[in-house]
Amino acid sequence: MKTIMLRGRKVVGGCVEGEALVTRDRISGWGGIDPRTGTIIETRHELRGQSFKGKVLVFPGAKGSSGWSSQFHVARLAGAALAAMLFNEMTTKIALGAVVTHAPAMTDFDQDPLALIATGDWVRVDADQGIVEITKNGA
């Protein structure tokens, strides 16, 4: 089985694997997700209606309200947290959101995760070692 490997920087430590949910749209926290279910609710978002609960969320970065971390914090307490987050653009919103989600998170990759990972791929995230292993869906 063919796997692809990415290297990046740890944002929050830990090791987990799960199914990828990928978007090229940035994500709003407050007003962008329903934290009780992990569902994207932003009106014109390409993932509108889909939940990131238990998924490895791959996205460019955060936008919108400073309530970003608080919404992802509530998602964890409500049992709707994502399994891991992989992103390209570092901001205070996403850094704090990752910290309070208590799930592995990485950024600063040697290759673009948005180009290499597709929704449905199986992804192993080892943030402590700075390694992401991708098994393509159907591979």
Binding site: G61, S66, W68
Partner: protein, 428 residues
């Protein structure tokens, strides 16, 4: 991350368990960012209360009460620690309800009690109860170069861009930790070199009233996302309300936390100063077609012309904006099936009371409310399905949060809709 002696002492517990939790959070957060150190701050703006739906249930059920709420939601600590008085000058942002309009907002007496309890707790910590998303309208006006730790994207962008204060968009947990420690990661907009413009926006149409500025902000935010736009070709110097609407819009469609207006904002005396001598990464035109596109995107949820709710005051209205509405509203009566709610900070409402504006709004059938807004508090008139707003930010969020349709237009369009019960606004 390198810590100073006093920071290390706080991390080791010298300031007590809550300060220790706060410093632990700041270290985890700073390392996530890749920050090298912390910086002192004595100007923190945050939401600490327990009036939003999930947190008020948590507050009602947890035996630790408000200490438990602060520990979990402001310090990321499941362990309940006793919260001491704040160390840094701190202001409270918007809340989840207006306790003086509980009946109109459909808020129970029990929730008003939770609100009062939370407010007493926060006030006793020494947090100023400004209760607004616009602290800069009611006396918290950072000086250029002042290191701040603010939440609220529309306030953050105003602080950085218009005032020259230095803040990142902090979250509830980092701002809570900053209150107790007087520290925040030295990263992002705290550093001079990260405040330079990246994208040049060339205006080819006149941008005058708050709706024009909202449309411009909505378009620019979507185009530059989290980068730093520089506006050139502004024909009329904007005022507080216009820049407030521009920033609120740009930080909703995108993640803009700083912008420059050549010749207007303090770090953009010239093109050269705004870009620090570098070339723009891209130049973006804003003409009639771009303005129309922004208008159509903002009105994309609206289908029915019958309007049953007009909401003004996102971000919270200034006294100037209340005065403008009263000129349009005086002697008129709003439509029987339509509600008009206007939101402002409570200290501005005191001025409106003395000026007779509150009475003019009430006599027309509307309400001047404080402390919250429809999107933040999830409070709308019972059964409302079609809203009209003069805020691009509210038009962006309200349909997603409350499931209503939203029309966006000028303040005059909205007042007209309140009077007739129908939307008659149109793109320019």
């Amino acid at each position: 991350m390198r810590l100073t002696g006093d920071e290390q002492a706080m991390l080791d517990g010298a300031g007590g368990p809550a300060v220790q939790k706060a410093m632990d959070l700041l270290v985890r957060y700073g390392e996530a960012l890749g920050a090298e150190r912390l910086v002192d701050t004595n100007n923190v703006c945050a939401t600490v209360g327990a009036t939003t739906p999930f947190i008020r249930d948590y507050a009602a059920q947890h035996p630790g009460g408000m200490d438990a709420v602060f520990s979990e939601f402001s310090l990321d600590s499941a362990e309940v620690v006793k919260i001491p008085k704040v160390k840094a000058y701190s202001s409270h942002l918007q809340q989840g309800i207006d306790p003086n309009h509980a009946e109109q907002q459909g808020v129970s007496a029990e929730l008003v009690q939770i609100y009062r309890k939370g407010e007493a707790f926060v006030g006793a910590l020494g947090v100023q109860l400004l209760n607004t998303c616009t602290p800069y309208q009611v006396g918290n006006v950072p000086v250029r170069g002042e290191h701040c730790a603010w939440m609220e994207s529309s306030a953050v962008i105003y602080c950085n861009s218009v005032l020259g204060g230095r803040t990142n968009a902090e979250g509830r947990e980092s701002a809570g930790a900053a209150m107790l420690t007087g520290k925040i990661p030295y990263w992002g907009y705290h550093l001079e070199q990260n405040r330079l413009g990246t994208h040049l926006i060339e205006l080819e149409v006149e941008v005058r009233d708050t709706a024009d500025w909202g449309l411009l902000g909505y378009y620019v935010g979507e185009m530059v996302q989290e980068r730093i736009p520089v506006l050139s070709g502004v024909s009329h110097v904007p005022n507080l309300a216009r820049l407030k609407h521009f920033g609120a819009a740009a930080s909703s469609s995108g993640g803009v936390e700083m912008y420059h207006v050549i010749g207007v904002t303090p770090e953009a005396g010239s093109m050269n100063e705004a870009f620090g001598g570098r070339k723009p990464l891209a130049t973006i035109k804003y003409g009639a077609a771009e303005r129309t596109l922004a208008y159509e995107r903002l009105n994309s949820t609206a289908r029915e012309r019958r309007v049953d709710y007009v909401m003004l005051g996102c971000p919270h209205y200034s006294i100037e904006q209340i005065w403008e509405v009263c000129q349009l509203l005086e002697g008129q009566h709003i439509h029987a099936g339509t509600s008009l709610w206007i939101f402002t900070p409570h200290s501005i409402k005191q001025v409106a009371d003395r000026n007779g504006y509150t009475r003019i709004i009430a006599e027309a059938g509307g309400h001047l409310m404080t402390d919250t807004c429809s999107a933040f508090g999830r409070v709308i008139p019972k059964g409302a399905k079609v809203a009209a707003v003069d805020s691009a930010k509210q038009a962006h969020y309200l349909p997603a949060i409350m499931g209503v349709q939203a029309w966006f237009g000028s303040t005059a369009d909205c007042v007209q809709a309140a009077i007739t019960g129908r939307w008659s606004g149109a793109a320019k």
